[in-house]
């Protein structure tokens, strides 16, 4: 699994590649937590998932955990361009009902900061 991160204003953009499961999810969590710790002003996370070829409930759990962390402060997690497999996992788990899913990064930026 490969993870690229960048911080733009109060938004953390996380680009994921590869498979997200019990083995790789802890690294995903640690990278995101590290950024949130270093930049306490971050209140939105954009997860670019076009490159994620597989995700199971271990990966979904890390996304849910970050959502739970940001939500009380008015923040959000927005998923961008999930694959068919990821979208199905999001729907089966119920996560699709509480976390926004966008087709493009532009659409996600509008949702996050209104621009």
């Amino acid at each position: 699994m490969k993870i690229n991160v960048r911080v733009i204003g109060r938004v953390l953009v996380v680009e994921l590649f590869g498979e997200l499961d019990l083995n790789t999810a802890p690294r995903f969590r640690d990278v995101v937590e590290g950024e949130l710790h270093s930049n306490p002003a971050i209140n939105h996370i954009l997860l670019l998932m076009r490159g994620v070829t597989f995700i199971d409930s271990s990966g979904l759990g890390v996304i849910l955990g970050r959502y739970k962390k940001l939500r009380p402060h008015g923040g959000s997690v927005i998923i961008v361009a999930p694959s068919l497999q990821a979208r199905k996992a999001l729907e089966l788990s119920g996560l699709a009902g509480i976390i926004s899913i966008c087709s493009t990064e532009d659409e996600a930026w509008v949702k996050a900061v209104g621009v």
Partner: protein, 150 residues
């Protein structure tokens, strides 16, 4: 059940083997040419959830073993994920959605497995282990075997 083909492997219950397990079963399942790629993805997800559950919950000490079996009878795939750990005392409770105390876990493993399998059986003897049996047949028309590279 007369099986046309089968495989059994054993490996340590460690996170590194979750991907290995689902990939092996996906390759085995691709012998059933009428599975679609989406159905192969479903099988991968079911196996990933079952093996992850075992890695997370079955053993209190390192060294535990997972036995993974896949069998084919006609167009039907049978997968068994078995461990020899502490077992589950309340199977129905363990299968309830969101039954977890870990904030980074969903507790949706069994829900996902049930949704994507034609049949799912969980049996356990406390102190002896857990056996998860999955059955799945193709429902689509596209052929994954022509596109899946194992």
């Amino acid at each position: 059940m007369v099986t046309e083909n089968y495989m059994t492997i054993e490996f340590p219950a460690i996170p590194e083997n979750v991907e290995f397990a689902r990939t092996v079963v996906a390759c085995f399942a691709s012998q059933i040419s009428s599975f679609t790629l989406e159905e192969i993805d479903d099988i991968k997800l079911v196996v990933s959830e079952a093996v992850s559950n075992t890695v997370l919950h079955s053993y209190d000490t390192p060294g535990g073993i997972i036995r993974l079996t896949a069998a084919r009878n006609g167009d039907t795939l049978y997968v068994t994920v078995e461990d020899f750990g502490k077992g589950i005392t309340e199977i129905e409770k363990a299968k309830e959605p969101a039954f977890t105390t870990d904030p980074d876990r969903m507790g949706m493993g069994f829900t996902i497995m049930e949704a994507l399998s034609d049949e799912l059986h969980v049996t356990s003897v406390p102190g002896k282990g857990v056996k998860v049996e999955i059955r799945k047949s193709p429902h689509g028309t596209a052929k994954a075997s022509e596109e899946l590279q194992c």
